[in-house]
Each structure stands twice: as C-alpha cells, then as structure tokens.
Amino acid sequence: MPHLLIHRSTITLPCFIAHSTPSCSRLASVGLRRPAQNRLISTATCVGDGNAANRTIICMANPRRVKMVAKQIRRELSDMLLTDKVLQYAVLPEAALGADRYLSSLTTISDVEVSADLQVVKVYVSVFGDERGKEVALAGLKSKAKYVRSELGKRMKLRLTPEIRFLEDESLERGSRVIAILDRIKDENERKVTKDQVYDSGEFADGSNDNVEWEGDDLDDEGIIYVK
C-alpha cells in the first residue's frame, strides 16, 4: 500500500528530522508518535528531492479538496449556529432567557479559510448589531471553540478535526459604508443637476430625497474618517 511505503521512508531517513520546516517537523513528530497521518500522505502530492543536503517533503492535500472541505465546514457551522442551543446561548445570551425570537444582534459566518494541510480553520464571523453585541458574540464564540471543534468532528468525517479560530470580519461593514457614501454622492449630484434645471426653468421645486438622507448625513460624516 502506497502510504505504508512512504511512512517507512520518513522514519528511516536520518537527515529528515534535522530539517525544521514547519510542515515537515510536524509530520516527523507525528509520524514517530503514532501511525502515519494516512490522510495527509495518501491524498497528497509528496515532493521529495533527491539531494541528501536539502530534503523538503511537503505533504499538502489537493487544493480542490481543501475547497470542498472549506465549503462543507461552512455549511456545518452555519447549521450549528442556527440549530444548536449551546452555540446560540453563547452568541446571544438573552436567548437563554427566552428572547430568541426578537434578536438584538445577528451573527453570520461570512467566510471559512482552511489551511492547505487541513489542520487550521479560520472562520470569519460578521455580527450585525451594536458594539456590545459584537463583543459579546465574538467572545462567546471564542469561548466555545473547543465545543465547536468536537461537534464538527461528530458531524464530519475527517481524519483529524482541524483547530478552529474565530475572527471578526469587517469587510461587510466596510463595504456597506462605502456604498452608503457612494449613494450619498450620487444623490448630491442628482440634486445639483435638478437644481440647475430648476434655475433654468425658473420654478422652485422641492428636493425629493431630503427627509431620507439628512439623518444619514450626520452618521456618515463620522464614517468618512474611518474609511481607509
């Protein structure tokens, strides 16, 4: 069987252990402690140089498989956020009191990045709500990281359940702010155009979007400073 062959070769190479590239050292240490990480080796493309001086063996999973795993993890985690009681209480503490139909903050998983060796998963979480809600949600998720990892292991069939890290995703907010500013600029331009037309025609017309946009102006003025 192919993977057994490679396993034997990693142990018998004396100079392999001396090299300290992160993937290789992990592989070496794991290979010595317990039987081979079959998943890593059998599905991987092992690149071994012939030189005795520098032997770098990089065992990574197929990139297509990485994408599939990422997509599946995303589905499972979103499902867990929707259905799992423990996670919901962690994200939104008032759900424990029964106020789960009327939400103060909404947590969404916007992106999942899996490392090439399927060991580390970075989950980008976007929270809709005020500042306190965001902190509470993210802190709750981070505290439940181990629980989420065990649940994911139960739901998905993977050799090694990856380590899960939750990160805050600000891209949706930033995009929303940018679009708000662009909308405002567009409305200002339209207003200028209509004003010019009005002066030409000599009538006095009322601005159509005044009532909607004025409150947005005060908030977005602060937003302009923060947009990088």
């Binding site: 498989r65 795993v69 979103s78 009327y102 939400l103 969404t108 739901r155 949706l172 909308d183 909607v212």
Partner: protein, 138 residues
C-alpha cells in the same frame, strides 16, 4: 362592451387581482430568505400580503455571484425602493436560512432609511420531523 351571457368554463370575469393602487402602508414586514446560493427579499404588509419582491437573480446576477453579499444588498435595495415611495417608514425583518444575505440585506435595509423595529429569525426548525437528506461525503 355589450353584456354577454356568461358561459361556464370561460373566464369572462377575469379577476384583476390587487390593482396597483398606492396603498399607504406605514408599517410592513420584510422577509429575507438567504440561502447559500441566492437571496430573496419580499416586502409584505403586516398581514402577509406581498407588496413587492426582488432577488439576487432578478437583479441581473447569475450563477455563483447570486450568493454574494453585494448581490443581497442590491436585491434588498431594489425591493425597498418601490415601498419607500409608498411611504413605508417602519419595518420588521424576518430572516430565514443561513447564507451571507442575512447580514448584507439587513445592512442595506438600515442604510435605506427605513426604521427597523424588530429583527426575527424564522428559519424553519423541525421538532425532529422529516428525515434530512444524506450527509455529503467530502
């Protein structure tokens, strides 16, 4: 037209349905169904009668781009545009499903100037009913 004898089986009296009268609805409900591949935004009144709807697919996006948050934003602003002119000020939002459209559509609604009264999550949850589809093997 001369009044003809109504024959059974022919749709003489065609039901006009709800005429496009400008119903002044100050308060409405916005339903956002956000799946992984698409987002559908429906605006109804408090009783549930649909006023207008839009989705990422009808906004011109096709394929994988329908699932993106930007598509959800355009769908939401499209659906709300007709209603804002009719004078809707407050809205309750009901969100269904996982997907990026949840967040993006909410932000778009808030940006448009409509006051969000409540945000509810109405994802259908069986009390262990139908058997779910088989697990995907990765």
């Amino acid at each position: 037209m001369a009044k003809a004898i109504p024959r059974t089986g022919s749709r003489r009296n065609v039901r006009i349905g709800s005429r496009k009268s400008a119903r002044r609805i100050p308060k409405g409900v916005i339903h956002v169904q956000a799946s992984f591949n698409n987002t559908i935004v429906t605006v109804t009144d408090v009783r549930g009668r649909v006023v207008s709807w839009s989705s990422a697919g009808t906004c011109g996006f096709k394929g994988t781009r329908r699932g993106t948050p930007f598509a959800a934003q355009t769908a939401a602003s499209n659906a709300i545009r007709t209603v804002v002119d009719q004078g809707m000020q407050r809205a309750e939002v009901m969100i269904k499903g996982p997907g990026l459209g949840r967040d993006a559509a909410l932000r778009a609604i808030r940006r448009s100037g409509i006051l969000l009264t409540f945000v509810r999550d109405v994802t259908p949850m069986p009390h262990n009913g139908c058997r779910p589809p088989k697990k995907r093997r990765v």
